[in-house]
């Protein structure tokens, strides 16, 4: 019997979760967002990162939620956690001080260097769509040692040019990036509903690494605002294992809030 779940089928969200969770091998302190990242982290804790500490910008370190949190400030995150701190402390002593290994970001727009826009579509002073703004994303992008991006891809979200750069990614000039002196090394991975990407070490450019099972390269290229760089050894994203699916469906999101 195969360990993968190809024959039972899985949703786009489920493979996004499984593919992202595997990126957390060995991670210690992870800044968790709500929704998919929350499930990703809980899955990773069970399969590849037993020491993973869930850190929330709301001020929680070492959360152990008894239910699926519906916001990053859910009361289930405080009860039974290791520490609750003021937000100043969380941002200054944990994030700015470089204690966060890995964080999740997403956005309405991403460019080929992993810069993100969560502020505005259109002109800032005459917005077509006013988005939420930075929240903690700007400083997370700068300080978390690795940034994992999870978002659905399309021509309006994977764009050649951002309408607004909320959170900095790579600059396109790796020498410049190294000289920044940030504790973060910027985005290292993007997982979408179609594929996974890394970032080229010499150019900092997003590079297509694997296609999800059944997704043709052409579909990925259609759903991007630029012609993507493709890895020489372009592969297939390993599908979720049956155990991963079981954890997602039975333990982490039994109501299917985020994974249907």
């Amino acid at each position: 019997m195969s360990d993968d779940a190809r024959e039972v089928g899985f949703s786009a969200s489920e493979i996004m979760i499984a593919a992202s969770a595997r990126q957390l091998v060995g991670a210690h302190n992870c800044f968790v967002g709500v929704g998919l990242p929350n499930i990703v982290c809980n899955l990773a804790q069970r399969i590849v990162a037993p020491k993973l500490q869930l850190v929330y910008e709301s001020g929680v370190y070492g959360a152990r939620p008894e239910r699926l949190p519906l916001s990053i400030g859910d009361p289930t995150l405080a009860t039974g956690s290791t520490a609750v701190t003021s937000m100043f402390e969380l941002f200054a002593f944990y994030l700015q001080a470089g204690l966060i290994d890995v964080a999740f970001l997403g956005g309405a727009q991403i460019d080929r260097y992993g810069n993100l826009n969560t502020t505005v579509i259109g002109d800032y002073d005459a917005p077509k769509v006013r988005l939420p703004g930075s929240g903690g994303a700007c400083e997370i992008a700068i300080h978390a040692r690795r940034i994992l991006v999870i978002m659905r891809q399309g021509r309006r979200s994977f764009v050649d040019r951002l309408d607004f750069r909320t959170s900095p990614g790579h600059s396109g000039d790796p020498a410049h990036d190294r000289a920044r002196g940030w504790s973060g090394s910027g985005p290292t991975s993007v997982v979408t509903n179609l594929a996974t990407y890394g970032f080229d070490e010499t150019t900092g450019e997003m590079t297509l690494l694997t296609l999800h099972p059944g997704v043709p390269l052409e579909q990925v290229r259609e759903q991007m605002g630029w012609e993507p760089k493709v890895a020489d050894d372009l592969g297939e994203t390993p599908p979720p294992t049956t155990e991963e699916l079981r954890l997602i469906r039975e333990e982490l999101d039994p109501a299917g809030v985020y994974t249907k």
Partner: protein
Amino acid sequence: MSESKVASMRDAVAELVHDGDTVAIEGFTHLICFAAGHEIIRQGRRDLTLARMTPDVIYDQMIGAGVASKLIFSWMGNPGVGSLHAVRRRVEHDDPEPLELEEYSHFGMVCRYMAGAANLPFFPLRSYYESDIPEVNPKIVPMTSPYEDGTGVYVVPPLRPDVSIVHAQRADAEGNTQIWGLLGCQKEAAFAAERVIVVVEEVVEESTIRRDPNRTVIPAAVVDAVVQEPFACHPSFAQGYYDRDNRFYIDWDAIARDPDTLQAWLREWVFDLSSHGDYVEKWGDAHWDALRPGPAPSGEVDYGRYA
């Protein structure tokens, strides 16, 4: 030796919140004092500058009601649900009138409160590098370390609200206030403000506070009024007292999408009620019972008696 500052929400808002004020109703998901927002709406305040890290449904209601002309913030949305439609109508379409925005990142807002609380003329942080945010907010200014490393930082100015309204689990009658669970910026917002209204689930004896002084977050020295108002955070929550009403946050999306529905909601749930007591009664006991969590006691520590 102690002085009671206990007041009704109506009197506290009437006396301490004025047209044109900068008002901060803080609380990060936790302890957001909706009841104070409703009272401000009910009393028809105008031209407020509203400050808050995360303008969520409470500010959508207040901005939909027309109390504010400006918003200072770092993330606006209905967490886990979507947009704030009343806010977006004003920002995207000046409908019914423009709304001025002044925006930061979370850490920038936190540092503004810190500078205000600490009476510092600026506060440095390592953020905003290579972001467009400073380009649309000239108050975010680059600065260089005077030491050998020459590290670049950005600085933000102090935020000093005319009034901060802070919810907490409990306080004594003088205003010594204790919070557990998420702390947000309650402390910094209180110390930074000219005037402070503390709203609590329970006013307790001074001796309850004095038994655990490390739990005190805000001292009476900065508090002007203490309002006892159970369930004042609904649909937000008070750790250990009631859960977040996630259903309401989802329902708000549909209510706020249409300006008429929103106004009808304000009429029914704010203007036609005389107080938060009416609001609690209107929801009914079954609603509150369903939001009550099980017990999770903290355990005790011993301070020792040194007499």
